[in-house]
């Protein structure tokens, strides 16, 4: 049964691609708008091997990683303090609650006004999206730590620093990772959006230029790279999680 499921999962996407190709060749799918797999591959391989696509991918990856770090690190630190200190939480929670639901894309013009059209505005757009998700999850993570562990730390004479190091941080890590994973998904959305509007390079910019020239196949090559990026980032975070949280039960 499991082997069967695996075989089905492997062939179903391939079947869809074949169907797409067949329908396109039969003239049932308009290739001027939807293109077809064979044409996309024909365009994809040259831009991949020339390094052109890889350059634009690297530009986006760099922005994503910088933005991700710039958002996640303050998110974790502030989240830990908000989780640990009720007074810090009381002071900051209203601001977070009010600004969290604002779609980050809505403030992009503002970000461009402040940071200009260069790299900083792209990195900041990613950072702000990641920041909120990591912050909110870290706070929830610290608050979800069972009180008993605080009693244990106190009973065994943990210092203030050891209290954070041995209880708060490890206790919140599973939730922090949930935040990081959500943040990564958001980072991909935001970087493409940021590059669509105002960029000289990057995968979003690539899509926009291809659209300008009505080069559908070229648009698809960027989508392929974004799919690969999403897959790689998700796996990298899973690996990191398994390494940082070796105690996590496979059932939990």
């Amino acid at each position: 049964m499991r082997a069967e499921a695996k075989i089905i999962s492997f062939f179903s996407p391939l079947l869809l691609l074949v169907l797409w190709e067949v329908l396109a060749r039969a003239g049932l799918v308009d290739i001027r708008i939807f293109s077809c797999p064979s044409r996309i591959i024909e365009t994809f391989l040259p831009v991949l091997f020339s390094g052109e696509l890889l350059y634009h991918t690297w530009v986006s990856v760099r922005r994503i990683i910088l933005g991700f770090l710039a958002g996640a690190i303050p998110g974790v630190l502030l989240g830990l303090s908000m989780g640990l200190f009720p007074l810090v939480r009381a002071a900051l929670e209203p601001m977070v609650a009010i600004t969290f639901p604002i779609p980050k894309l809505a403030v992009m013009p503002m970000i461009i006004l402040v940071f200009g059209l260069g790299e900083a505005s792209k990195v900041f757009t990613v950072a702000i999206g990641v920041f909120y998700l990591v912050l909110v999850n870290t706070v929830a993570g610290v608050l979800s730590i069972d009180r008993i562990y605080l009693d244990v730390a106190k009973n065994f004479g943990a210092s203030r620093w050891n209290f954070y190091r041995t209880v708060a941080l490890p206790g919140a890590l599973p939730m922090i990772f949930a935040g990081l994973k959500l943040g990564m998904g958001t980072a991909l959305i935001l970087i493409v959006a940021a590059e669509l509007t105002a960029a000289q390079a990057g995968l979003g910019d690539w899509i926009w230029r291809a659209y300008d020239m009505f080069d559908i196949e070229r648009m698809f090559t960027s989508l392929i790279m974004l799919t690969v990026l999403g897959y790689l980032f998700a796996n990298a975070l899973d690996l990191l999680e398994r390494w940082v949280i070796p105690w996590k039960s496979p059932h939990a």
Binding site: D151, V152, N155
Partner: protein
Amino acid sequence: MEVAARLIGEHAQARGKAKVQPNGEAIVLTGISKTFTGRSGTVVALEDVNLTIYEGEFLCIVGPSGCGKTTLLRILAGLEKPTSGRVEIRVREPGKPVNSMVFQEQSIFPWYTVKENVAYGLAMRGVPRARREEIAEHYLKITGLSKFANAYPHQLSGGMKQRVSVARAFANDPSILLMDEPFGSLDEQTRVILQQELLRIWEGTRKTAVFITHSIDEALGLGDRVLVMTARPGRVKAILEVDLPRPRDLTLIRSRPRFLELFDTIWFYLREEVMKAKAGEIQS
């Protein structure tokens, strides 16, 4: 009836005291009261508790549910402050922590391995790594956990987790061991095995121990003295000396006439309080 019970109680208390006194006082509680103020009003958990715990004794505390046993232990541990009264820690052993607690619920850190959990107190006290590994390994060995030294808690059964918790407290080598119904949530077979192991380890160290339980059987099997608490608000109803020889075998000791006698006496005190606690539950 109640007067009679009180008389026997005081008599038992006096007798218990006289016997254990030579060992010196570890903790003296005077007039301890604890009041909790919550949304639904004020609850008096403890009222005027006076108690002396002697060095090297194993004191068991029994009482009906909700009588403040856990609160009393948390006050002894310094995790809770009494509303009034005095806690005097008389025992001072330089270089040793005053107390270590074995908690009722699952309390070993899920993010640490079994060995790291056992060494936790030592690490917090800044004992060098090599030394604390050595100590942890010793306690893993005597609690039969050596094979699981590098396992994480989620891989262990409930009984194993409580074993780790007991090892963690012993490894910290405190002057006083505090145990809050450590085996309460375990199945009968596991409980008996762990009680026997605790006895064996304790009889090897003779550390001052305070052990909370709702089982008279457990209290008599383990303790040198048994303190019976009243229904809420918790007070000392009676203290009985358990004059059963050590080292004890828990399966054999249960059939001794003296064990049955003591069991009846404790049940005599406890039954009244359990009835009161039940009546209180129905009222509220």
